[in-house]
Symmetry: none
Subunit: 221 residues, 2 copies
DNA sequence: AATAAAAGTGAAAGTTTCGTGAAATTTAAG
DNA sequence: CTTAAATTTCACGAAACTTTCACTTTTATT
């Protein structure tokens, strides 16, 4: 997940960048609209975090300059009181607003929400080589053959895939897959990972344990 | 495809309308619940996009006023923070939520998804091998022989088929087949599934239980 | 290499969910 | 009003799933 952060204040850049990196995102920085635009034209980002108020080229202008095929999910930062015209936001494809001052935790939450929303609406089927996960029908295929998994296995795999490449702690997995109100053991996750791996056959390698942290899903067989 | 957009803010109407038209949809506008209701009673729409917060008649009230036979797929717009009770939404037959501010791209994606889901088999006969379901005449044939089913069994099968491949929760089934105003047990669904399966003979296998979720229809005998 | 911490695993125990027959209730029809 | 049909609730056994536990293996550290 590559995120481009555009802000003219070095301090804010640093804070955001640090938190995003701690959450396993790839962070890129730009301190003005021109730089950001040229970066966007050169490579593909998954998310844009953009300060509206900047010298020279402001956020709105930047958004308008981005060509259609390069448009990406965007979270806008604005100072409290700055009456951001929500409507002009709409038509520019803004996905969320965060008002300064904000807590990094909140920002991370928004980032995750926006990314989840944008990914999920793209397709209800995940495919990697011979592995297919159909989220709507809640079914999994390996080499065109449906395999049967338990509900927890399915939810666990779904969550891992939707956060592919990101190391997820047992706590994270428990709170997202089991629910915040689950009060069982950490190690329950391990057991389900075990069962999931068995179900996945040769694709068990896609579920990698991150020692001392938890697990992550990667696309490598 | 005729879509009715109900929102009291002229600007939002315009934005949505513009994007929908660009995607080849026929757009109709209403700025309050009363107008919307009378339009719905006069003509058939394929989709309703509805703002919950409106002066006079709010979205929920409008939904309740729409007679059963005129009910249509609905996407609800709500402002962030407006704690829409997702559950009460489900029982009103709402198909999707979009939170303001939203990107038009996202809205279009949702619109397509909901319409695809709902009109997947709008034709009035569904056929799979020796199974025929005639939606208009409300009759079912298995190997050219008509079988008799109760009204609920028919509605249940119809809804399952129209959402084939999608795992449907008991709540979803209750709100769409029974109506949002049904306040009975979850498990009622199970009993009707049981009876439907018995009626379907060898095609009982098409109705698959999704453990922990509900049921889905699949084309496999 | 020794040690401690973390992760893998098989199996038992516990819990939830589901299928089903039968009874109770509601609805529709005569 | 009576009767049949349809719908809903209920309860219990069966099946499926989840969690814990104890033990083994692996990994990281000194």
């Amino acid at each position: 997940m590559k995120i481009l952060v555009v802000d003219d204040e070095k301090l804010i850049q640093d804070v955001i960048s640090e938190y995003l990196k701690a959450n396993q995102y790839d962070v890129f920085l730009a301190s003005n609209g021109e730089d950001a635009l040229s970066m966007i034209l050169k490579q593909d980002f998954d998310l844009l975090i953009l300060d509206i108020m900047m010298p020279q080229m402001d956020g709105f202008t930047l958004l308008k300059e981005i060509p259609k095929e390069k448009r990406i999910p965007t979270i806008v930062l604005s100072a409290r009181g700055e009456e951001v015209d929500k409507l002009s936001g709409f038509s520019l494809g803004i996905d969320d607003y965060v008002t300064k001052p904000f807590s990094p935790k909140e920002l991370i939450a928004r980032v995750k929400a926006v990314l989840a929303r944008c990914q999920s609406s793209i397709g209800d089927i995940y495919t990697y080589q011979g592995l297919e996960v159909h989220f709507l029908s809640r079914s999994i295929f390996i080499d065109q053959k449906e395999i049967s998994v338990t509900p927890k296995e399915f939810d666990l795999l779904s969550y891992l895939i939707k956060n592919k490449g990101i190391a997820l702690s047992r706590e994270q997995l428990l709170s997202h897959v089991w629910g915040y109100d689950f009060f069982g053991e950490d190690r329950t996750v391990d057991t389900h990972i075990k069962m999931l791996r068995n179900s996945l056959g040769s694709y068990r390698k896609c579920i990698v344990t991150v020692h001392g942290i938890g697990y992550k899903y990667v696309e490598e067989k």
